[in-house]
Symmetry: C2
Subunit: 149 residues, 2 copies
Amino acid sequence: MLKRYDLLNAVEAQGVRLTAQRRALIETIQEAKSHLDAASLLELARKRDPKIDRATVYRTLELLKRLGMIDELDLMHLNGEKHYYEVKTQKDHLHLACFNCGEIEEFTSPTFERLKREIADKNEFDIKVMRLEVGGLCKRCAARKPVLQ
Amino acid sequence: MLKRYDLLNAVEAQGVRLTAQRRALIETIQEAKSHLDAASLLELARKRDPKIDRATVYRTLELLKRLGMIDELDLMHLNGEKHYYEVKTQKDHLHLACFNCGEIEEFTSPTFERLKREIADKNEFDIKVMRLEVGGLCKRCAARKPVLQ
DNA sequence: ATCTAGTTGCGACTCATTCGCAATAGACAT
DNA sequence: ATGTCTATTGCGAATGAGTCGCAACTAGAT
């Protein structure tokens, strides 16, 4: 498991007002076992604090994104246009999404790190976010379903 | 300029019915100078054939995606949640999106190709689509605006 | 020229996300 | 502890991209 930042402390350290809703949302994201979309995040966070509104979820996600504490993923839009969120890890990583079974695999590699440095150097580009998503067939599905139309 | 496939011929070769609307849409995508979203594509294609509907645009994009002839991009959602489309090029490439000025730079590199092979090999993943997007500040904006909050 | 299955236009719909505004509540000063 | 002030919240309505069902149309085969 890749090391993740401690959101709650990090947010507090930024001098951001900590409301009950934000606390519930941040703890939920932090402890999530899988990538959450806004609706699932809302549902889970309501177990901690039942009085949270949809709008607050979006506003909090916006805040965390702005602070660079979470990443927003599309995961190849396997299930509609919603976004998914994850706590930023120390190392960038990419996501492999299986079009057949929907499984998401994560992947890190020195080559990825190297590519990142290359982009920054050759283009003199100041990288804030890097989102690499791959769609295709995972090992099992490729074996089972050799041809995709 | 990266070499692009000739869409119209390629589509015909697939035995797909060529309607006036598809022709107009495909020619428009092929000749586009920049990345088009569905709405701009519709607007431009109507100059060739004024009788095209929004739904047909989406259905045609879906078709071309399925045939593997175009790629769908998010371009870091710089301007809302819409998607952008481009004709597939011979080589995969990535997009650098400037959060400040909105400019999109393209980038190819042997390291990117290598990373792709690595993913396919190490994970035994059958890659269909690869979408690598980078957000940050381009050379000029980084110089002009050294600190982003 | 005819036939027919694939394609289209239309309008209504869905779904994710955003907004305006009045009510509320952190957190700092007292 | 209490009051104050401003950021944050909930609510409900709005937006915007994309999708759907269905009747009308048409490309291309015969």
